[in-house]
Amino acid sequence: MIDTLQQLGAWALQRLERLGRSHLFILRVVVGLPELLARPGLVVQQIFAIGVLSLPIILVAGLFVGMVLALQLYNTMVNFGAEQSLGPVVALSLVRELGPVVTALLFAGRAGSALAAEIGLMKATEQLSSMEMMAVDPLRRIIAPRLAGGILAMPLLAAMFSAIGISGGFVVATGLLGVDSNAYWSQMQANVDLFDDVINGVIKSVVFGMVVTWIAVFEGFDAIPTSEGVARATTRTVVNSSLAVLGLDFILTALMFGDNG
């Protein structure tokens, strides 16, 4: 019994210590962010690596999610004679919820894991150490541009996801299900609000981008410098950031849309 308690205590302490370390880490990185204004090239490179290279998976997923959404919603809405409102329902689901969340989950799998593995391997091959010995702070040269790149890329990706999802929904709705194309767009225009819906979705995706990139760069930087350590860091990145996204999504949704009902 005492042993179990002791183990539980040790586990909790270890977790707390790591959490503290990750906060100190991010604080030091954030302090270095303004320096990037003088070297925008470093951030652009990361937006390419994190954002542009994630585009194929985001676009394909967005297209199919939009198409499936239109099909599923149509089947229910047609029972209530509300099938002409398919446009706003697809758009709201994507812009408020599925766009930011699914993009963040895919982002964690595609870009987060790559970031953690890259940084972990840089640590294992002494690249970070050698940088320190060259009087270059890896937090500012390696981590800060990646964090900035992730935070900037994620809302752009989520916007693309939603846009292509809405287009996919349109193709299915008008081509397959016979919904009037004018109704699809005009109803959407009338019922989707820029601030309540679109901006709130963007805020969500910025928060998710921040959290996923933070977890990824910290896990990579904190990895045990062996192949096994890097593998673990990569797995932890995907698992922890997915859970963080889902948990945060509930909190953000409650804050943003909780009092509408």
Binding site: M122, T125, E126, Q127, S129, S130, M131, E132, M133, M134, A135, V136, D137, R141
Partner: protein, 270 residues
């Protein structure tokens, strides 16, 4: 006037890691302009010593002075200033894998100077010429052999003309030709650029061949130090075992274990 004080002065160095004592009162002087080798069996913390000198680890006790400045007591900013005057060659080379050879050597210049591109180009080519790899400047690190990677890393380490150059096991895993090239380079660079060199190694012949002074470390202490000639004539059994590579001696062949005959007769516990 020639400065006779040591460039690096280590006094009473104590350092432990994960409950294990690595250094237990180590004193080392590194003389200016000389090649000093720190040798000892694997696991004696030679690499850790370089990390301590470079300020990447902090000692539990003792001082490490470089050109008068006590490294463990320096602020991060001052430590980074000092590191600009130090070069270190890592065992793996530690080249940045996303940059080609040219950009790797240019990296410290781009980070720390405002030099125009044309000057950076010239400086990089000078450094690459010094290590014989000017022709390889477009290659990526993945296309280099181990020996070439180490030479590129060497060119990068001397890019800012450091006063102190540190080598971590520069000869391990090298074929005889690469080894010969590195041995020659380390000595020539030290003399031509007026640097001070520390080599950490257990390759006795190569290291003793170019070092002006040797320190032998074992079990957290300096066992003996002196010129290579003096150490080769040393009466210490341990020193002889290490320098001549004898399989048994004061450092036993066997890892500590219970009596062999008794262990064979014992029934294995279930």
């Amino acid at each position: 006037m020639l400065d006779e004080t040591p460039l690096v002065e280590i006094r009473g160095l104590r350092f432990g890691y994960a409950g294990r004592t690595i250094f237990d009162g180590v004193d080392i002087d590194i003389q200016r302009g000389k090649v000093t080798a720190i040798m000892g069996p694997s696991g004696t913390g030679k690499t850790t010593l370089l990390r301590l000198i470079g300020g990447q680890e902090r000692p539990d006790a003792g001082t490490i002075r470089i050109d008068g400045a006590n490294v463990p007591a320096l602020s991060r900013r001052k430590l980074f200033e000092l590191r600009k005057r130090m070069g270190m060659l890592f065992q793996s080379g530690a080249l940045l894998t996303d940059l080609n050879v040219f950009e790797n050597v240019a990296f410290p210049l781009r980070e720390h100077t405002e030099l125009p591109e044309i000057m950076i180009r010239d400086l990089v080519l000078i450094k690459l010429e010094a290590v014989g790899l000017r022709g390889a400047r477009e290659l990526m690190p993945s296309a280099l052999s181990g020996g070439m990677a180490r030479r590129v890393a060497l060119a990068r380490a001397i890019a800012l003309d450091p006063m102190l150059m540190m080598y971590d096991e520069p000869f391990s895993g090298q074929d005889p030709i690469s080894m010969g090239v590195l041995v020659k380079l380390i000595r020539e660079l030290n003399d031509a650029l007026g640097m001070t060199t520390i080599i950490v190694s257990h390759d006795v012949n190569e290291t003793a061949g170019i070092a002006d002074y040797l320190y032998l470390l074992s079990e957290g202490r300096v066992v003996e130090h002196g010129t290579p000639k003096r150490l080769q004539e040393s009466g210490s059994e341990w020193t002889r075992q290490f320098l001549e590579g004898l399989p048994d001696g004061p450092v036993p062949f066997h890892y500590p274990a219970p009596d062999f005959a008794r262990e064979l007769l014992e029934l294995p516990s279930p």
